[in-house]
Symmetry: C2
Amino acid sequence: MRLSLFLLPTLKESPAEAQIVSHRLSLRAGLVRQMSAGIYAWLALGFRVLKKIEQIVREEQDRAGCQEVLMPTVQSAELWQESGRYDDYGEEMLRFNDRHGREMLYGPTNEEMITDIFRQYVKSYRDLPKNLYQIQWKFRDEVRPRFGVMRGREFLMKDNYSFDLDFEGAKRSYENMYQTYLRTFARMGLTAIAVRADPGAIGGTLSQEFHILAETGESKVFYDAGLDSLGPEDVEAAQQLYACTEEKHDPAACTVPPDRLREARGIEVGHIFYFGTKYSKAMNVEVAGPNGESIVVEMGSYGIGISRLVGAIIEASHDEKGIVWPEPVAPFRVGLINLRSGDAACDKAADALYEKLNAAGIEVLYDDRDERSGVKFATMDLIGLPWQLVVGPRGVKNGVVELKRRAGGESEELSVESALARLVD
Amino acid sequence: MRLSLFLLPTLKESPAEAQIVSHRLSLRAGLVRQMSAGIYAWLALGFRVLKKIEQIVREEQDRAGCQEVLMPTVQSAELWQESGRYDDYGEEMLRFNDRHGREMLYGPTNEEMITDIFRQYVKSYRDLPKNLYQIQWKFRDEVRPRFGVMRGREFLMKDNYSFDLDFEGAKRSYENMYQTYLRTFARMGLTAIAVRADPGAIGGTLSQEFHILAETGESKVFYDAGLDSLGPEDVEAAQQLYACTEEKHDPAACTVPPDRLREARGIEVGHIFYFGTKYSKAMNVEVAGPNGESIVVEMGSYGIGISRLVGAIIEASHDEKGIVWPEPVAPFRVGLINLRSGDAACDKAADALYEKLNAAGIEVLYDDRDERSGVKFATMDLIGLPWQLVVGPRGVKNGVVELKRRAGGESEELSVESALARLVD
């Protein structure tokens, strides 16, 4: 993509309304634009990040044996009256009447709707377990939306629902998602810690929040150092280890030896939750067992905040110059800078390199604008593409380009062929 | 995907509420489920079709030089008051207040919002032309939603907006989309005719609807036979030829010789529209020209009904047994039928074939259920996958499988290797 054609409205100054770094950088880098309080449009660059995150989440859900569906954003109030949550939900639920006066709402979550779909179609124990998910926009009418896409009113979420015959099955589904979440966040280049959402209550270990670690994180988390060395497969071991947020952490009661107790800041980006028969009882969800008996199904739900992750990743990965995207979610892999647009030799060399990168299937944003080199470097550092390829007059004369890694700042002069070879790997 | 694990709630009988064939078949084949009047959930099979269509539309938009963005579904009323359409839009617009009493709405279309985004960022003639599009859910509160996803209230649409300096530029953008639409529909295996949306008015040729031809189509279209032989590149020639819907067709005034006048039935699936400075004037969208003068930008908008296309394609491609998906939009390419699940030899052969298809990257739905062969054939014919691969006891003995094309019904007995080779092509 040529930057001269791309809609990339970067800002030099931080907008006054942005209180946290991800909000500032997502506005300065032209990722999003606020259209109303807590409601954002995704501009071309931000949209690409959103899609990258969505696709990683999708691939890991599919790999875990889940099936993707898509529920509407507008729901009838009836299902929520049936579950008993319509009155409980309060003002965060955006409610309205359609032209015929029917009570409707913009779905803040989908337990009721998926339960309704399930009970219409699944009648036998032989059809279980089932795991259905969607990636869809939700709306929660927060009193004070803030922190940009980290806490928007309209937000993109992956929500997954499991249906099992018994607790043992539900626990397997839960652990399957636990593993899947760790894999998902690891693929995005993030370190995630699963903290107990309610460590006191019985069955409390079957409700965990995933926090990704970031110095600027919204909440403090305390966890056993043993978690640092465990992988997605070690569910059982991980569940034995201490991890909770500051609000739940009681230093007096915590039995982790001080030298093993880690303290860090985190941002919640996912939640997995076993809730048993809460909805299936309220909404009469039963399947026939092997002997014809009725079985009330066991359920769980599992969310990942996809639009929130855009902000969370920026919190976890930035420096004073701008965003530092982890490669798997970067909007483009390479930023190609022509240091002297208008100079025939530089234009020719940069255009040729651009063609080669495209031909090799490498996603590249080519700064072909008629701007000073300082502006081009600042733009590339701000938008944080993992690699910068710099074509300048001296290099062109010597047959080399500069390849620079955004994260560490290391740079090398290489022949065009060597630079390409490095990027193709 | 193994059918035993897949959520595919097929129906033997046609639901009474479904009046047209695409509605009947989309319910019978388990593509969608109605959640409220005109509001559908996309089940696993239907979701795959929706995504295939979306991806073809996206690739052709990108190829045409457009940039993808994503606007929120919830909009503030203010922008619509500025354009003057807030009061005009009537009851089709779903309106509500948020918890602070602000007037909001669920976007039925996005001219106002994209114009607002554009005017914030684009200030110079050098940044034009620009072509921005999104694929997003919209809501129109139809009085009587019907015909399934063909006329839903919540629907998925690709909407594209062009911004140009002058009429000549706007005309080029319009013609670019004209070509792109013909290519897009052709890639889905559809024949599309662009009819003049308002042939009488001045500039009327810069508003055209794309109808795909289907015997069961909702409206009658009349067109010059010359259109049958023109391709996407022949914009100029095509614009000279007669094409309009029955409402606009005046036999007395039509100058097409009777032997060249074609009559067919069509379904509207796209609309391209040049509207000049309507929104840019109302919303003060100006850029600086080469000499510093203010230029009011020329705009156009271009829509494709993505969820509607699922219904339209079924209308255009079905038979008495069910849907006949064109390959590019089929939810899976191959349906693998094990005629005798439970028979060790058949299971072994079918399982092995399933693995080979997956390894070759061929999307396959494997009917491994414990059902009679008649049920399995009927299911495959109903859901309309392009190819059926049948593994039965006799074939296993002779080392062959049956490969059958859903569209024509032709079948052949082939070795496993030959069948695979045929499908890999």
